[in-house]
């Protein structure tokens, strides 16, 4: 097994070497004529207004939160799926199935809760105001 995973290390080194080699080669071949106009941030030809390191649309953080919950679920379900067949062959299939079902049911209730709360809608209406919420109008 050490041999198998040493291969991964070799591939990581090869990938880094490849990028270093190509960028190094390019550094030797390419011209270098920096000037302020060329090195300014691209904003469709206009002088850029402000930086881009700003607060971002909150929607993406909600997606990240929901993702973390379901990804932990995927991580926990992986070992069970691998041994499920062995359990079936030992005659414990129904027990294993029941456990998986309970685990997934709890998560499914979570999905239904998030759905019912409207957090899966990309454009969520806040309160009863007809006006779009400010964070929605920012590019999404």
């Amino acid at each position: 097994m050490f041999f198998q995973f040493a291969n991964v290390l070799v591939f990581v080194a090869l990938a880094m070497g490849l990028v270093a080699l190509m960028t190094g080669l390019s550094w030797l071949l390419r011209p270098h004529n920096p000037e302020p106009g060329k090195m300014s941030t691209y904003e469709c030809g206009e002088p850029p207004t402000g930086g881009a390191w700003i607060n971002f649309n909150i929607r993406f953080y909600l997606v990240a939160l929901v993702f973390v919950i379901f990804d932990v679920e995927v991580a926990f379900i992986a070992p069970v799926t691998v041994v499920f067949r062995d359990w079936v062959e030992q005659g414990n299939g129904l027990f294993a199935y029941g456990e998986i079902a309970i685990f997934l049911a709890i998560l499914f209730v979570g999905l239904i809760y998030v759905w019912a709360k409207g957090d899966l809608e990309w454009v969520k209406r806040v309160g009863s105001s007809d006006e779009d919420s400010p964070d929605m109008r920012e590019a999404a």
Partner: protein, 396 residues
């Protein structure tokens, strides 16, 4: 297997007095370099050329045909051109992270090839984590994309990077759950183990194993398309809205790597689908020669995977881009519940018929071929009816 091959070389005395671990290291680096330079870079490059030609035919154009016979060397010319272009790193950007991003993206892409099989013997390392390893390594690409988007300090790049992150992590879940439906059947994560439990005939493939895996195949395909940032899910670099998304500020050699990874990922998507659902390298046993069988298996695997690459090009030339809210709805409200049901359904199927249910497999195979046949019939019907002057030869 590389290890058995190296062991046999050491036993033959090819390495002379070199210690075993050093011989292993030499062999690993040589094999890795052969895979990376002999296959990975070429398949990514050739795919960019093939894609331009396929689009051109679909759009009634000619496409690149000047560099080499039929333009086959166009990708080398493009790569050389990008290497010689001046690179502009904006003064406002975070230069360290900006330079780091191509490294992360390339590592995530190239390391996936460790566990991708080519034939029963041609695999760098048959990891026991197999398919889980491939999916987690290809997820590393999203980290690189986010670094690129943030480090550019450009609004287009930032929006592209964050969109890519949201999209890829969301589609990770239906993809993983659908991949696990196959793991329920095989009981192993190793890519070779999964393929060995299938046969060369379509009725032995896992796509036709049960109705749930049949649907699971399509769920996996859609989810992997989204993870590879392919049309109709190419929002992170939607050129009509975001200039070029997360690669807006990249130029020259560093841009080359984002380009390489995006097109190389198509092959990885095809290889994952073929390994899990379409029988992998399994080929009919027509010769007793080990070398002959391995060549046949490698050809089978690469042709099957490349058919998916061409299918993805076709989809890109045909379908418009979805909106970001449609993207999230597709994932969370459709694919996720479907993959939950699939997962439980397959578990039930494995419990009732641990060795598979032959009748269902044959019916599903017939249905699958019927669908493909009906589709081809409709295509031929419309071609005839429109009276279009269409030639199917790619070289004309």
């Amino acid at each position: 297997m590389l290890q058995t091959f190296l062991d046999s070389l050491i036993a033959d005395g090819t390495f002379g007095a070199i210690p075993r671990d050093v011989a292993y290291a030499i062999g690993m680096v040589a094999a890795g370099a052969a895979v990376v330079f002999g296959f990975v870079l070429n398949i990514s490059g050739v795919t960019t050329f093939v894609e331009r030609r396929v689009w051109a035919r679909i759009q009634s154009r000619v496409g690149p045909n000047r560099v080499g016979p039929q333009g086959i060397l166009q990708w080398l010319a493009d790569g050389l051109k990008l290497l010689m272009k001046e690179e502009a790193i904006p003064y406002a950007a975070d230069a360290t992270l900006f330079k780091l991003a191509p490294f992360v993206v390339t590592i995530g892409f190239i390391t996936a090839f460790v566990a991708i099989p080519f034939s029963s013997a041609l695999i760098v390392a048959d990891l026991n984590l197999g398919i889980l390893y491939i999916t987690s390594m290809t997820s590393l690409v999203v980290v690189g994309i986010m670094i690129a988007g943030w480090a550019s300090n450009n609004k287009w790049a930032l929006i592209g990077g964050i969109r890519a992150a949201a999209q890829i992590v969301s589609y990770e879940i239906p993809a993983a759950l659908s991949i696990f439906t196959v793991i329920l059947i095989t009981g192993t994560l190793s890519t070779q183990g999964i393929i060995q439990q299938q046969g060369w005939g379509p009725w032995d493939w896992f796509i036709f194993h049960s109705p749930f895996t049949f649907i699971g195949f399509f769920v996996t395909f859609v989810a992997l398309l989204a993870e590879g940032n392919r049309t109709p899910f190419d929002l992170p670099e939607a050129e009509s809205e975001l200039v070029a998304g997360f690669v807006t500020e990249y130029s020259g050699a560093r841009y080359l790597f984002f380009f390489l990874v995006e097109w190389g990922n198509l092959y990885i998507i095809g290889a994952i689908l073929v390994t899990l659902f379409l029988g992998g390298w399994q080929a009919p046993h027509i010769t007793d020669s080990v070398v002959g069988m391995n060549i046949l298996q490698a050809l089978t695997f690469i042709v099957k995977s490349y058919l998916f690459v061409i299918l993805m090009m076709w989809i890109r030339a045909t379908l418009p881009r979805v909106r970001v809210d449609q993207l999230m709805t597709t994932c969370w409200k459709y694919l996720l519940p479907i993959s939950f049901v699939n997962f439980m359904g397959t578990a039930l199927w494995v419990m009732i018929w641990p060795q598979g249910f032959r009748f269902a497999e044959i019916v599903l195979t017939a249905m699958g071929f019927g669908l493909v046949g009906y589709f081809l019939y409709r295509v031929a019907f419309h071609l005839r009816r429109s009276g279009a002057q269409i030639t199917l030869s790619p070289l004309s």
